[in-house]
């Protein structure tokens, strides 16, 4: 089923473009170059975060933290490997991408922990960055219940990711 989503979506986008009289080819050429700018923008933060996180992992600190927290979270279906990702996710987008891709590479992309890490990355956002950006731009002085509500959403995303992978993907 999920094998059909992406090819059909690409076909739909291109067919809609052609039928609406858009110059699809020239749009694709311009768009592809914009993708390189995205890579350029995340290059430096990902390089720095991945290096530092690889060093922390090599020191054994990540494994120790994960193993000591595991008794609390494994009853809820959250693998120990995914905990550092959950802790970093609200603070740093590039940090979360770096930790997440380490989990996916080490545990295997089609393993339960690798899938949960991927779903966690896909279903949450860098909450503190978003809150800081919006409240600074409109000069919102009192954010009241905003931070706790956003953190509730993040926590729900993490546990729902673990549950969804186990229920929907049978792993």
């Amino acid at each position: 089923m999920s094998d059909y989503i992406v090819p059909c979506l690409i076909l739909f986008i291109l067919a809609h473009g052609v039928l609406s009289g858009t110059n699809v080819y020239s749009a694709m050429l311009d768009g592809a170059v914009k993708g390189l700018y995205t890579i350029r923008d995340i290059f430096a933060p990902v390089l720095i975060m991945l290096t530092v996180i690889a060093m922390v992992r090599a020191s054994g600190a990540i494994d120790l933290t994960a193993h000591s927290l595991a008794p609390l979270t494994s009853p809820l279906g959250m693998p120990a490997e995914c905990l550092p990702l959950a802790l970093l996710r609200p603070f740093s987008g590039s940090g979360a991408l770096s930790v997440g891709s380490e989990v996916i590479a080490n545990a295997g992309p089609d393993s339960t922990a690798g899938r949960i890490a991927a779903v966690m990355l896909g279903s949450s956002e860098t909450s503190f960055y978003t809150i800081a950006l919006y409240s600074a731009c409109i000069k919102l002085k009192n954010t009241r219940y905003l931070v706790p509500a956003a953190l509730c959403a993040d926590a729900a995303a993490f546990f729902a990711s673990a549950a969804a992978v186990r229920l929907l993907m049978g792993s």
Partner: protein, 195 residues
């Protein structure tokens, strides 16, 4: 500033822990191999990022993005009530939501900020606390993304058999997360009485 402190703490952790566990050779090696892995990761996801960026550009030029935005209008009235009927606010919110759905972070932010400014203005005019602004920000911190292309590319680069098979799980987790965020905001609003 936050990132600088985070990096300092993480490095301190790596050095102190490496010394205690006697894994300094591994930590030292990781400084080099981590940097190499980062470049390998970015090169391996670059192709897919550029392909999706190309398809997004087609959607923007063919008017498909605008159609998705206008299909979201009823949802906006449902979420933002009277302020969701304001033409200027609804237009910016629908663009922000459509860009988030399509994973266009760079297009979502300017529209989101425009929407936040307009909602703030409306609540000041009506002399009510800016709850609609906070609701918009909650929606943006728990963004629902239909196609997490970067993560699928990372999975593909690690040799996944089917990098997009996580889609239904991502959608389910995103919807649960957004609903929890909105529900938490609605409940906490009553508790947080002081404006």
């Amino acid at each position: 500033m936050f990132m600088s402190k985070l990096l300092a703490v993480l490095l301190l952790l790596a050095v102190v822990f490496g010394a205690l566990t006697g894994r300094m050779p591994e930590v030292s090696l990781a400084a080099v191999s981590g940097a190499r892995q980062a470049v390998e990761l970015l090169i391996s996801i670059a192709g897919s990022t550029c392909l999706w960026s190309a398809l997004m550009e087609v959607m923007n030029r063919s008017g498909l993005s605008a159609r998705i935005a206008s299909a979201l209008r009823p949802l906006i009235v449902l979420l933002f009530g009277r302020h969701g009927r304001d033409e200027q606010a609804a237009e910016a919110i629908s663009q922000n939501m459509a860009a988030n759905l399509l994973g266009l972070g760079s297009a979502a932010t300017p529209a989101g900020l425009r929407a936040a400014a307009r909602l703030h203005e409306l609540s000041q005019r009506d002399r009510i606390p800016p709850d609609s602004v906070l609701r918009l920000i909650v929606l943006n911190t728990a963004s629902v993304q239909l196609l997490p292309t970067t993560i699928a590319a990372v999975r593909a680069s690690c040799g996944s058999q089917s990098p997009y098979d996580i889609l239904p799980a991502v959608w389910a987790a995103s919807i649960i997360s957004v609903c929890t965020g909105l529900l938490a905001a609605a409940v906490l609003r009553r508790v947080w009485r002081k404006p």
